[in-house]
Amino acid sequence: MTTRAVEGWTLQPLTDFVREASVRLVLLMTPAGQVLAQSGFSRAVDVMSAAALGAAIMASTGELARQLRQAPFAALNHQGQRHGIFLSSLRSERGPVVVLAVYDLDVSSLGLVQLFFEQMATDLQAASPKTASKQVLAADFERELSESLNTLFGR
Protein backbone atom coordinates (compact mmCIF):
# COMPACT_ATOMS: atom_id res chain seq x y z
CA MET A 1 0.00 0.00 0.00
CA THR A 2 1.39 3.41 -1.00
CA THR A 3 1.68 6.07 1.70
CA ARG A 4 2.91 9.51 0.69
CA ALA A 5 3.08 12.86 2.44
CA VAL A 6 3.27 16.48 1.38
CA GLU A 7 4.35 17.36 4.92
CA GLY A 8 7.14 14.95 5.86
CA TRP A 9 6.45 14.93 9.61
CA THR A 10 3.12 13.18 9.00
CA LEU A 11 4.61 10.20 7.19
CA GLN A 12 5.83 7.94 10.02
CA PRO A 13 2.77 8.33 12.29
CA LEU A 14 0.52 7.72 9.28
CA THR A 15 2.48 4.66 8.17
CA ASP A 16 2.26 3.21 11.69
CA PHE A 17 -1.50 3.90 11.84
CA VAL A 18 -2.12 2.20 8.49
CA ARG A 19 -0.14 -0.88 9.51
CA GLU A 20 -1.52 -1.26 13.03
CA ALA A 21 -5.17 -0.41 12.42
CA SER A 22 -5.22 -2.27 9.07
CA VAL A 23 -7.06 0.59 7.39
CA ARG A 24 -7.53 0.64 3.65
CA LEU A 25 -7.52 4.35 2.81
CA VAL A 26 -6.43 7.34 4.88
CA LEU A 27 -6.30 11.08 4.23
CA LEU A 28 -4.70 13.64 6.52
CA MET A 29 -5.82 17.15 5.67
CA THR A 30 -6.42 20.60 7.05
CA PRO A 31 -10.01 21.61 7.94
CA ALA A 32 -10.01 23.49 4.61
CA GLY A 33 -9.40 20.26 2.71
CA GLN A 34 -5.72 20.83 1.91
CA VAL A 35 -4.18 17.34 1.82
CA LEU A 36 -1.13 16.71 4.03
CA ALA A 37 -0.73 12.98 3.38
CA GLN A 38 -2.55 10.00 1.93
CA SER A 39 -2.39 6.26 2.01
CA GLY A 40 -4.01 3.74 -0.31
CA PHE A 41 -5.42 6.10 -2.94
CA SER A 42 -4.48 5.39 -6.54
CA ARG A 43 -6.11 8.32 -8.35
CA ALA A 44 -5.68 12.06 -7.72
CA VAL A 45 -9.35 12.70 -8.43
CA ASP A 46 -10.34 10.34 -5.59
CA VAL A 47 -8.07 12.22 -3.18
CA MET A 48 -9.54 15.57 -4.19
CA SER A 49 -13.12 14.29 -3.86
CA ALA A 50 -12.52 12.59 -0.51
CA ALA A 51 -10.71 15.64 0.88
CA ALA A 52 -13.47 18.00 -0.21
CA LEU A 53 -16.23 15.75 1.15
CA GLY A 54 -14.40 15.00 4.40
CA ALA A 55 -13.71 18.67 5.07
CA ALA A 56 -17.33 19.51 4.26
CA ILE A 57 -18.64 16.87 6.68
CA MET A 58 -16.36 18.18 9.44
CA ALA A 59 -17.52 21.73 8.78
CA SER A 60 -21.19 20.65 8.78
CA THR A 61 -20.98 18.62 11.98
CA GLY A 62 -18.93 21.38 13.63
CA GLU A 63 -21.61 23.90 12.80
CA LEU A 64 -24.34 21.50 13.96
CA ALA A 65 -22.56 21.15 17.30
CA ARG A 66 -22.21 24.93 17.53
CA GLN A 67 -25.95 25.35 16.89
CA LEU A 68 -26.62 22.85 19.69
CA ARG A 69 -24.16 24.75 21.93
CA GLN A 70 -22.04 21.61 22.21
CA ALA A 71 -18.34 21.06 21.85
CA PRO A 72 -17.45 19.78 18.35
CA PHE A 73 -18.13 16.07 17.87
CA ALA A 74 -15.07 13.98 18.65
CA ALA A 75 -15.48 11.54 15.79
CA LEU A 76 -17.94 10.35 13.22
CA ASN A 77 -18.24 6.72 12.15
CA HIS A 78 -20.33 5.36 9.33
CA GLN A 79 -20.57 1.62 8.98
CA GLY A 80 -21.72 -0.04 5.80
CA GLN A 81 -21.99 -3.73 4.97
CA ARG A 82 -18.32 -4.22 4.11
CA HIS A 83 -16.58 -0.96 4.93
CA GLY A 84 -16.49 1.61 7.68
CA ILE A 85 -15.64 5.30 7.39
CA PHE A 86 -14.04 7.05 10.35
CA LEU A 87 -13.70 10.83 10.40
CA SER A 88 -12.13 12.79 13.22
CA SER A 89 -9.70 15.57 13.91
CA LEU A 90 -6.64 16.00 16.08
CA ARG A 91 -4.48 18.87 17.25
CA SER A 92 -0.93 19.45 16.11
CA GLU A 93 1.55 22.31 16.44
CA ARG A 94 0.64 23.19 12.84
CA GLY A 95 -3.08 23.45 13.69
CA PRO A 96 -5.99 21.02 13.47
CA VAL A 97 -5.60 17.96 11.24
CA VAL A 98 -8.63 16.14 9.89
CA VAL A 99 -8.30 12.38 9.47
CA LEU A 100 -10.48 10.35 7.12
CA ALA A 101 -9.99 6.59 7.28
CA VAL A 102 -11.77 3.81 5.41
CA TYR A 103 -11.48 0.28 6.79
CA ASP A 104 -12.69 -3.17 5.76
CA LEU A 105 -14.93 -4.72 8.38
CA ASP A 106 -13.34 -8.11 7.63
CA VAL A 107 -9.87 -7.05 8.71
CA SER A 108 -10.37 -4.13 11.11
CA SER A 109 -12.95 -2.66 13.45
CA LEU A 110 -14.05 0.66 14.90
CA GLY A 111 -12.33 -0.24 18.18
CA LEU A 112 -8.99 -0.85 16.47
CA VAL A 113 -9.25 2.32 14.38
CA GLN A 114 -10.11 4.41 17.46
CA LEU A 115 -7.31 2.83 19.48
CA PHE A 116 -4.60 3.49 16.92
CA PHE A 117 -6.06 6.87 15.96
CA GLU A 118 -5.34 8.00 19.53
CA GLN A 119 -1.77 6.73 19.15
CA MET A 120 -1.39 8.55 15.83
CA ALA A 121 -2.76 11.76 17.38
CA THR A 122 -0.06 11.57 20.08
CA ASP A 123 2.65 10.80 17.52
CA LEU A 124 1.60 13.62 15.19
CA GLN A 125 1.46 16.08 18.07
CA ALA A 126 5.02 15.13 18.98
CA ALA A 127 6.29 15.16 15.40
CA SER A 128 4.70 18.39 14.20
CA PRO A 129 7.10 21.30 13.77
CA LYS A 130 6.34 24.42 15.78
CA THR A 131 6.59 26.75 12.79
CA ALA A 132 3.34 28.00 11.26
CA SER A 133 2.19 26.21 8.12
CA LYS A 134 2.41 28.00 4.81
CA GLN A 135 -0.81 29.78 3.90
CA VAL A 136 -2.07 29.00 0.43
CA LEU A 137 -3.32 32.12 -1.32
CA ALA A 138 -6.18 31.92 -3.79
CA ALA A 139 -3.87 33.02 -6.61
CA ASP A 140 -1.52 30.10 -5.91
CA PHE A 141 -4.19 27.54 -5.16
CA GLU A 142 -4.11 25.64 -8.45
CA ARG A 143 -0.32 25.45 -8.57
CA GLU A 144 -0.14 24.35 -4.89
CA LEU A 145 -2.82 21.72 -5.49
CA SER A 146 -1.02 20.41 -8.53
CA GLU A 147 2.30 20.22 -6.66
CA SER A 148 0.65 18.46 -3.70
CA LEU A 149 -0.98 15.88 -5.94
CA ASN A 150 2.32 15.28 -7.75
CA THR A 151 3.98 14.63 -4.39
CA LEU A 152 1.14 12.41 -3.17
CA PHE A 153 1.34 10.21 -6.26
CA GLY A 154 5.13 10.24 -6.69
CA ARG A 155 5.14 12.08 -10.02
Binding site: L105, D106, S108, S109, L110, G111, L112, Q114, L115
Partner: protein, 121 residues
Protein backbone atom coordinates in the same frame (compact mmCIF):
# COMPACT_ATOMS: atom_id res chain seq x y z
CA UNK B 1 -30.82 -7.05 28.02
CA UNK B 2 -30.34 -4.46 30.76
CA UNK B 3 -27.28 -2.86 32.32
CA UNK B 4 -28.11 -4.81 35.50
CA UNK B 5 -27.96 -8.07 33.57
CA UNK B 6 -24.57 -7.12 32.14
CA UNK B 7 -23.34 -6.25 35.64
CA UNK B 8 -24.57 -9.60 36.94
CA UNK B 9 -22.76 -11.44 34.14
CA UNK B 10 -19.51 -9.63 34.93
CA UNK B 11 -19.95 -10.22 38.67
CA UNK B 12 -19.93 -13.97 37.99
CA UNK B 13 -16.43 -13.65 36.56
CA UNK B 14 -14.85 -11.01 38.77
CA UNK B 15 -15.80 -12.79 42.00
CA UNK B 16 -13.26 -15.52 41.16
CA UNK B 17 -10.05 -14.98 43.15
CA UNK B 18 -7.23 -13.81 40.87
CA UNK B 19 -9.46 -12.19 38.23
CA UNK B 20 -8.38 -8.56 37.75
CA UNK B 21 -11.21 -7.57 35.51
CA UNK B 22 -13.91 -8.67 33.12
CA UNK B 23 -15.51 -7.07 30.08
CA UNK B 24 -18.28 -7.60 27.60
CA UNK B 25 -16.96 -6.63 24.19
CA UNK B 26 -18.73 -6.22 20.89
CA UNK B 27 -16.95 -8.73 18.66
CA UNK B 28 -17.81 -6.83 15.47
CA UNK B 29 -16.67 -3.40 16.60
CA UNK B 30 -14.12 -4.15 19.31
CA UNK B 31 -15.89 -1.70 21.61
CA UNK B 32 -16.49 -2.14 25.34
CA UNK B 33 -20.15 -2.88 26.16
CA UNK B 34 -19.66 -3.25 29.93
CA UNK B 35 -16.62 -3.56 32.14
CA UNK B 36 -15.45 -4.16 35.67
CA UNK B 37 -11.70 -3.61 35.69
CA UNK B 38 -9.03 -2.94 38.26
CA UNK B 39 -6.82 0.10 37.75
CA UNK B 40 -3.97 -0.18 35.26
CA UNK B 41 -5.88 -2.22 32.67
CA UNK B 42 -6.51 -0.34 29.42
CA UNK B 43 -10.05 -1.57 28.76
CA UNK B 44 -10.53 -0.02 25.33
CA UNK B 45 -7.21 -1.37 24.07
CA UNK B 46 -7.86 -4.88 25.44
CA UNK B 47 -11.35 -4.83 23.90
CA UNK B 48 -10.19 -3.71 20.45
CA UNK B 49 -7.28 -6.14 20.29
CA UNK B 50 -9.20 -9.11 21.77
CA UNK B 51 -12.00 -8.61 19.23
CA UNK B 52 -9.46 -8.43 16.41
CA UNK B 53 -7.81 -11.61 17.64
CA UNK B 54 -11.18 -13.29 18.02
CA UNK B 55 -12.10 -12.56 14.41
CA UNK B 56 -8.81 -14.01 13.17
CA UNK B 57 -9.13 -17.08 15.40
CA UNK B 58 -12.68 -17.65 14.15
CA UNK B 59 -11.41 -17.66 10.57
CA UNK B 60 -8.53 -19.99 11.52
CA UNK B 61 -10.98 -22.41 13.17
CA UNK B 62 -13.21 -22.34 10.12
CA UNK B 63 -10.23 -22.93 7.83
CA UNK B 64 -9.11 -25.85 9.98
CA UNK B 65 -12.61 -27.29 9.87
CA UNK B 66 -12.89 -27.58 13.65
CA UNK B 67 -16.00 -25.46 14.14
CA UNK B 68 -16.39 -22.36 16.24
CA UNK B 69 -14.13 -21.62 19.20
CA UNK B 70 -15.78 -21.90 22.60
CA UNK B 71 -12.95 -20.73 24.86
CA UNK B 72 -9.45 -19.39 24.50
CA UNK B 73 -6.74 -18.78 27.04
CA UNK B 74 -3.55 -16.80 26.48
CA UNK B 75 -0.99 -17.20 29.23
CA UNK B 76 1.60 -14.46 29.70
CA UNK B 77 4.40 -13.99 32.25
CA UNK B 78 2.38 -11.65 34.45
CA UNK B 79 -1.15 -12.75 33.79
CA UNK B 80 -3.63 -14.34 31.48
CA UNK B 81 -6.34 -13.35 29.04
CA UNK B 82 -9.35 -15.64 28.89
CA UNK B 83 -12.17 -15.25 26.40
CA UNK B 84 -15.47 -16.96 25.69
CA UNK B 85 -17.20 -15.91 22.46
CA UNK B 86 -20.83 -15.39 23.39
CA UNK B 87 -22.26 -16.55 20.08
CA UNK B 88 -23.90 -14.35 17.49
CA UNK B 89 -23.81 -16.49 14.36
CA UNK B 90 -21.61 -15.28 11.51
CA UNK B 91 -20.91 -11.97 13.18
CA UNK B 92 -18.55 -11.47 16.08
CA UNK B 93 -21.36 -11.36 18.67
CA UNK B 94 -20.43 -10.54 22.25
CA UNK B 95 -17.15 -11.63 23.78
CA UNK B 96 -16.79 -12.23 27.50
CA UNK B 97 -13.21 -11.32 28.38
CA UNK B 98 -11.35 -11.86 31.67
CA UNK B 99 -7.93 -10.52 32.64
CA UNK B 100 -6.42 -12.60 35.41
CA UNK B 101 -3.36 -13.17 37.58
CA UNK B 102 -0.90 -15.82 36.32
CA UNK B 103 -1.84 -18.31 39.02
CA UNK B 104 -5.63 -18.01 38.70
CA UNK B 105 -7.77 -21.14 38.69
CA UNK B 106 -8.31 -21.39 34.93
CA UNK B 107 -11.00 -24.05 35.16
CA UNK B 108 -13.09 -21.95 37.51
CA UNK B 109 -12.74 -18.81 35.39
CA UNK B 110 -13.70 -20.79 32.30
CA UNK B 111 -16.81 -22.08 34.06
CA UNK B 112 -17.86 -18.59 35.11
CA UNK B 113 -17.15 -17.14 31.66
CA UNK B 114 -19.42 -19.79 30.14
CA UNK B 115 -22.11 -18.98 32.72
CA UNK B 116 -21.75 -15.27 31.92
CA UNK B 117 -22.09 -16.06 28.21
CA UNK B 118 -25.33 -17.90 28.93
CA UNK B 119 -26.56 -14.99 31.02
CA UNK B 120 -26.04 -12.46 28.22
CA UNK B 121 -27.18 -14.75 25.38
Amino acid sequence: MTAAAFRHALDLVTRVRGVRGAMLVSGDDGLVVAEQLMGGIKGTAVAALAASLSGRLRRAMEAAGVGVSVFWHLQAEQGALLVVPGGGGDSGGLLIVAVAEPDVNIGLVRLELLRAAEAVA
